[in-house]
Structure formats: structure tokens, C-alpha cells
Amino acid sequence: MTAESRAIAWGELAVGTAASIDFVVSAEELQQFATLSGDCNPLHVDADFARSKGFDDVVVHGALLVAKVSQLIGMHLPGRDSVWTGLALQFRQPLYVGREARVEAVILRLSPATGMVLLKLTLRAGEVLLAKGEAEVLLVRS
């Protein structure tokens, strides 16, 4: 992985600035994440079990959605010079393998005294709200 994270100066940030990433989780990635996280709950790896619990298919881990938030923060907004210091997220609907999804961050508040950036987060699959919340990110200014 050699992608470069975007560098944004404090002065370039403004309330309302937004960034997003579109993604699709494949069956292989879900399996890799189950192995990586150690969360091999059948809800995530056994379709018959997931259906028996009322879901359409195996459910993508909530933490994998958080990983996409991490990508958005670390690579795009605020990017290279940021340190993630807080997260509150509510999961509303499941994401299934192969579905197109989008994670979006919008700057809600800036704290000039500290360099802290408060982001509003939303994750959607089409019009379906998957999760929403807030993240606090410190922009380390040189």
C-alpha cells in the first residue's frame, strides 16, 4: 500500500468542508477482516446463520466500517498531519457484501486553541443510513 495521505494546513480547514470515500466490501475482504480482528462470529461468516437471525446475508463488521472512517480521516480529512482522538458512532442498518457504500465526513467545529477538528460522520448504502456519529481529530501543527 503506497497511497499518499493528503496534507491539509489548519488555515485550509473550514466548517462545512467535506470529504467522502465510496467503497464496496467483498466476501474476501470480509473474511480477511474476520481473521484480522478475530471476530469470526457466524453473523459475519455464515450466511445461513445470519439469515436465521433475520438478516439478508452475512453482515459486514461494524469495525470494518470504522476502518473506512480511519481511511477517510487519515488519508483525506484532515489527512497526513492528523491524530484521531475520539469516536462516537451509532450503527443503524447492516451493510452486506457487494453493496456500494459511502462514508462522508463534514467539519462541524474547529478549535483554534487546540487544533482539534470535530467531524460529523455518516455512512450510507444508497439512501440507507448505515451509521452516523462524530469523530474528534487533532491536527498536529508544526
Binding site: 482522538t85 467545529r109 478549535s111 483554534p112 486553541a113 487546540t114 487544533g115 482539534m116 474528534e136 487533532l138
Partner: protein, 83 residues
């Protein structure tokens, strides 16, 4: 009298914030309190403290305003001046 009441409310709110940030329900917030009095008061917790206060009071401070504060009493005065 009204300003005394405001100050009491501010210290009550500050106490709640300090106890949450430093994870210490016994922390007594007084005007004389400084970073030297709280073991966990490092640079990252200082940022957490300032951000929590900004959010709780709906205020925004500049780096210079926060940088010259010597104790909690001066922080409370800064809050009063902005309310």
C-alpha cells in the same frame, strides 16, 4: 449576586468536565488548581480539557487566550468574559 451564581454554575460544570477528562470522581476543582496538581494533566489531556470546555459552554478560545492561563480561576474568568 447574579455573577456569583454564574460562577457557581461554571465551577459546577468545570468540576463535571475535569472529573470526566481525568477520570477522577474525587477531583476538587478550585480556582487555585493547576496542571501541577493533577498527575494525568499532560498535553493531550490539556487539549481534551479545552475542547470539552469549549463544547460544554458553546465557546471558542484562541491559542493565545488559553496559553496565558495560570490556573483554573483564570480559565473561569475567561469563560465569564465570553458568556
Amino acid at each position: 449576586m447574579k455573577s456569583d451564581n454564574n460562577l457557581t454554575q461554571i465551577y459546577s460544570k468545570l468540576t463535571e468536565i475535569f472529573r470526566d477528562v481525568f477520570d477522577d470522581d474525587s477531583l476538587q476543582v478550585t480556582p487555585e488548581l493547576t496542571a501541577a496538581d493533577v498527575d494525568e494533566w499532560d498535553s493531550l489531556n490539556h487539549i481534551r480539557l479545552v475542547v470539552s470546555i469549549e463544547r460544554a459552554f458553546g465557546l471558542s478560545f484562541s491559542a493565545a487566550q488559553v496559553g496565558r492561563l495560570k490556573n483554573v480561576g483564570e480559565f473561569a474568568e475567561l469563560i465569564v468574559s465570553k458568556l
